[in-house]
Symmetry: C2
Subunit: 261 residues, 2 copies
């Protein structure tokens, strides 16, 4: 039994009861939680399969201009090369300066290690894994380079991730515990079961599950992983049955891009 009907008008982001194998939920609202929306508020209904609503760009950032972030990254293949880009109008000069600082050879692209350096200097330290997952999220390719447009997206998304982390880290411990993670994922539109929640914590907790708490960069990685897997699953679950069928090829091509080495 699936945790949502097909298609529901709305549903709540509570973890499903034990007899429900899974609820997975709606289009995440731009990755940024809405402060006025409590976790048990109804989520919007999932959009039709493979037909995302045009008013919901797929980004964890506050877009500098409406429609700036495409719902799907424009690169259809994991092997696609990056298209040169420019900063969107109105980009914060600090963002432009940050990119130019990182792009020392003036190529118009920065790689994973350069992005790691520039992000670490303006926020906190990030693992290469997290940096690469962010790059993947905003390019949908395996290329470990981004241009001005993607860098701007990363920058604004991190502002939202930070705000979200601080919002859900209610005890100000600097780490997200399982309950806080459940609420955070819920605010993004993903209602995972208690078992999946425990698994996420055990995977993304730097202590290997001992602390049962996730630090900031792993929190981003965790949410992006859930988002990536859920969206891929949803693409195959056109009838909202809660089940999806994959060929072996599709299964491998669905899952492998989210493995970050």
């Amino acid at each position: 039994m699936s945790g949502y009907a097909h298609p529901p008008a709305s549903f709540r982001c509570r973890a499903p009861p034990a007899h429900q194998p899974q609820t997975y939920a709606a289009d995440p609202p731009n990755g940024a939680p809405e402060p006025s929306q409590p976790c048990d508020a109804p989520c919007s209904a999932p959009p039709p399969c493979d037909k995302p609503p045009k008013d919901k760009p797929n980004s964890y950032a506050s877009p500098p201009a409406p429609g700036y972030y495409p719902r799907s990254a424009p690169y259809g293949s994991p092997f696609a090369s990056l298209v040169p880009s420019a900063f969107p109008p109105g980009t914060d000069p600090n963002v432009v300066a940050g990119f130019r600082l990182a792009d020392q050879d003036g190529s118009g692209f920065i790689d994973d290690k350069e992005l790691q350096r520039v992000l670490s200097s303006c926020d906190q330290s990030f693992s290469l894994r997290t940096v690469r997952l962010l790059m993947y999220h905003f390019t949908n390719t395996n290329t470990r380079k981004i241009g001005p447009k993607e860098f701007t997206s990363v920058y604004y998304s991190l502002q939202n991730w930070r705000a979200m982390f601080e919002r859900f880290d209610k005890d100000r411990s600097g780490r997200i515990d399982p309950n806080e993670l459940r609420e955070a994922l819920c605010s993004l539109g993903f209602a995972v079961s208690p078992v999946v929640l425990d698994l996420l914590v055990s995977k993304f907790d730097k202590s290997g599950g001992k602390d049962k708490a996730i630090e900031y960069d792993n929190f981003i990685e965790c949410c992006l992983t859930v988002k990536g897997l859920t969206e891929k699953f949803r693409e195959k679950d056109c009838t909202y049955s809660g089940s999806a069928t994959f060929t072996y090829e599709a299964f491998m091509l669905t899952v492998l891009p989210l493995f970050v080495v």
Copy 2:
């Protein structure tokens, strides 16, 4: 269309032609390639779904005693604790000494960092990711500890991984190129498509795909990832149709344990 009939008597481990979305293949023969078996030799037929043949233990090692390695790790849940174990009879004294050297507090278990240290001292350096994936492979849990039994399995498996790496690294470059990887995966019983092969190389190549070649520890990680995903997929593909249906819960619980953070 699937690359194998349901169920075939045998099939070949060639990469499928372009019109075949996927072939995935038989029970890997203990993880160790058989020197006398060329890559285009027929693979054995896949075992019945969820009913593995008892004479095929699931290990990448040469077992010190027949039946020592269980086909499936005995821990049914990713949250299970490790059961204390002992060295199997006839274990190489060097293995025992290696474990005792690592287990400094005499607890009977060693953690990921201790395993990384002891492995790096007797073979080459291993990333924590590779070490953790090896631990997962031999425990099927997220606990980052292993006992004497699992340590012995890891030790012997690495002997086979090294032999396999050297066998397929035909140009002695110290790295496995896409063709060599295809042949290595084939020898394990996994025939992946050219697209999946390219994706694997781009993910597990330390250079991010520039070199199109995989070093030893990433080679192990790559093969264990393909093995883990394929076996999970096969569990759901009971009729050998080449397609498998997952609930969202099953999908997440299938894929997430193989993410190594």
